[in-house]
């Protein structure tokens, strides 16, 4: 490990995490109540009370939390989507705008028309909706191009899906707990959704809440849980999701070596540079898994393997339990939970924290010290990354 000047994020730690119960349908909950429950859970996990919170991120429910608990005035950002919210909260703490920030999220009761794909998967844009597009098709167009260009095989995609689903099957808290184990052949035998994605290559839909609490390191050291430090992060965007042709080769005018198929590369380079680490230093990969192929391209984008070699990289046990780079250890969106458009993003971070605490009930990576978390995907033209560490150095 090389030394580098201490980045301001190192003054920030995740001190509380909480997942509510996750289920396909959470009877008796709506998005507001499940978000509120997640928020209180994360605050309690940190050993704090709502009155200790002086910053929040999120939408109207976050604002309601501030009002109902009468904790204003607080710092507030409208950011609510996973890792960007974490980075924004970390920046607020590092710059002194706030000292303890709550990031709540939750969704229930949003997906009722089951004959259609989930509402958050099919935006109404004029250039995609008339052509029957939804997220699986958007991401499939990118995966197909990788397969055509590099010879990536369906078996590699299926291995990713089986690995993550088996993590979920072993996880007592997963929506699909006990629903495995799956072999890659089981994935390939499931019905086709949007070629090359079979049903079991795709994320599920469910309901639930997830919240985090971040605090300044000076506070974090005295709280209930061992602090998990923010080591670095980054955000890569190519444009709005689900409006334009989703292509692997979409580039920008500034640097043609960065293309959408490897979106997140720049973000990962930034994140690693902030802490002087490299992919070799990562112990657990809590990567976002909207579709199996996305894991393959993330290993390439983040520098774990060379471009085009992700298909082989995932085949030999490297990403499974006991492997060098265990991936998405709670079962991710494929098996743990995918509650709408937000909680599942934050859940990558929550799981990374639990891994570094050594507190996972299943698929705990022994001695994990550095976790890499991600959000987004090439089909949506964005990827965010976050590096977490057991130590602040």
């Amino acid at each position: 490990m090389t030394t580098s000047p201490k980045h301001p994020f190192r003054e920030v730690a995740v001190v509380g995490v909480h997942n509510t119960r996750q289920a396909r349908v959470l009877e008796g909950y709506d998005s507001r109540t499940v978000t509120m429950e997640a928020a209180l859970g994360a605050i309690a996990d940190a050993g704090l009370t709502p009155l200790d919170v002086d910053g929040v991120t999120g939408g109207n429910v976050a604002a309601e939390f501030v009002y109902q608990h009468r904790i204003g005035p607080v710092w507030k950002s409208p950011s609510g989507l996973g890792i960007p919210a974490v980075l924004e909260a970390a920046a607020a703490i590092a710059t002194g705008l706030a000292s303890i920030v709550l990031i709540p999220s939750g969704s229930a009761g949003a997906y009722t028309q089951r004959e259609s794909t989930a509402p958050w998967t099919r935006p109404g844009n004029e250039f995609v909706a008339p052509f029957g597009m939804f997220t699986a098709a958007e991401f499939a167009l990118i995966a197909r191009r990788h397969m055509l260009t590099f010879g990536t095989r369906p078996e590699s995609l299926a291995t990713v899906a089986a690995t993550i689903r088996n993590n979920g099957s072993a996880n007592p808290d997963a929506v699909y707990s006990g629903r495995g184990p799956f072999t890659p052949q089981d994935i390939l035998d499931s019905r086709m959704i949007a070629d090359p994605f079979h049903l079991l290559d795709c994320s599920t839909t469910s309901e639930g809440g997830c919240a985090l609490v971040l605090a300044h390191a000076d506070i974090a050291r005295d709280l209930a849980r061992p602090p998990v430090y923010v080591l670095g992060g980054g955000i890569d965007y190519y444009g709005p999701s689900y409006q334009n042709p989703p292509t692997f080769d979409l580039g920008g005018r500034r640097d043609p070596t960065f293309v959408n198929g490897w979106v997140g590369r720049r973000a990962a380079e930034q994140a690693f540079a902030m802490c002087g680490l490299s992919p070799d230093d990562v112990d657990v990969c809590e990567f976002y898994d909207p579709f199996s192929f996305e894991i393959i391209r993330q290993f390439e984008a983040f520098g774990f393997c060379k471009e085009g070699e992700g298909g082989d990289f995932v085949l030999d046990g490297t990403i499974g339990p006991g492997g060098r780079f265990p991936v998405t250890t709670d079962g991710g969106t494929m098996s743990f939970s995918h509650a709408g458009s937000q909680p599942q993003l934050l859940q990558r971070v929550a799981r990374g924290v639990e891994q570094l605490r050594g507190a996972c009930a299943s698929s705990q990576v022994d001695g994990a010290e550095v976790a890499m978390c991600s959000n987004g995907g090439s089909g949506a033209l964005f990827t965010d990354v976050l590096l977490l560490g057991k130590d602040a150095t």
């Binding site: 052509f131 029957g132 167009l141 990118i142 086709m192 042709p245 005018r253």
Partner: protein
């Protein structure tokens, strides 16, 4: 094998913006339009205020040859909404003038799609005056 045909049901209709209206107006005239840059001659799609290649705002609408090759595809078996008949095949087309467009493949069996398949635009009139641009194999 299933012959791919245009959708005829109550699928989502495009809701053009002021920026994209010329694109949709052109389809009714059997013109596949794109924006050409006066500065670098590059093509831009989807409709924009500035050139995607050089950032110039000297964009004018031109009519495409409507020909291209298949850049990527997916065969969809679980429809976006029940109004879509499956299978249907979303494709990204590399259009001749150097732009990419999302559409659906029609006029062949679903398993005849292949990399670099040569395709041409075909205009499909929905019953409410909306025209969608699909693509079919050339000479297929």
């Amino acid at each position: 094998m299933t012959l791919l045909v245009p959708q005829t049901g109550a699928i989502p209709r495009p809701k053009p913006s002021s920026l994209s209206q010329p694109f949709w107006d052109g389809l009714g005239l059997h013109e596949l339009r794109f924006q050409r840059c006066g500065a670098c001659r590059g093509a831009t799609h989807t409709p924009a205020l500035v050139c995607s290649r050089c950032g110039s705002d000297e964009l004018t609408w031109e009519v495409s040859t409507g020909r291209g090759i298949v850049y990527s595809w997916t065969t969809v078996w679980r429809p976006q909404t029940p109004e879509f008949v499956v299978p249907y095949v979303p494709i990204v087309v590399d259009v001749e003038e150097g732009w990419q467009m999302l559409s659906n493949l029609v006029g062949c069996d679903h398993d005849e799609v292949a990399p670099d398949l040569a395709v041409e635009v075909v205009f499909h009139h929905l019953d409410d005056g909306v025209t969608l641009p699909y693509f079919r194999p050339i000479g297929g």
